[in-house]
Amino acid sequence: QKEVEQDPGPLSVPEGAIVSLNCTYSNSAFQYFMWYRQYSRKGPELLMYTYSSGNKEDGRFTAQVDKSSKYISLFIRDSQPSDSATYLCAMSVYAGGTSYGKLTFGQGTILTVHP
């Protein structure tokens, strides 16, 4: 079983739709949760960052973490064609004084928003 599971899609939605992206994980030690957006042939770009459980909102994006269910979500409201990209979830265990924390990624979900 992979530590982080993410449905690769692809997911195709019409412009203006609400998009829901999800990841599940098995390591209960994960404390830091991130969502990255990656355009084709580019490096991942940090979208949302959450520590522990709860919700975080930034413009059209909302990230949710449910540690009891080991489940994280990213919601995109009023989706735009420019949101078409691969979305990667990532999570980390804090490693104490070294401040090093290995990022474990999901496989990524390919999203297409069509006009």
Binding site: V4, Q6, P8, Q31, Y32, M34, Y36, R41, K42, G43, P44, E45, L46, Y49, Y51, L88, A90, S92, V93, Y94, A95, T98, S99, Y100, G101, K102, L103, F105, G106, Q107, G108
Partner: protein, 111 residues
Amino acid sequence: SQTIHQWPATLVQPVGSPLSLECTVEGTSNPNLYWYRQAAGRGLQLLFYSVGIGQISSEVPQNLSASRPQDRQFILSSKKLLLSDSGFYLCAWGGPDYGYTFGSGTRLTVV
């Protein structure tokens, strides 16, 4: 502001040839640095990380090595490339309590 530079953007190398990919970070000191590889249609796999000059930790056994000769410079190398080394290589800096920033990546094709 902090920036991360990675080059070259694309590279085509024959099997058995050496490899050197370079990454530099500006605007911060003593960053944690990482090398990841992304195979087609898959997530990112951590290859190496470094918490300081000369300090390298390897996550997976492979045909690659890493070095950190200066505080903000991270180099990925190979003496002899294999076909299986093809992929998208990404350098990153950061930490779990303040996030990670990735470079633009190097697409390596071994032929």
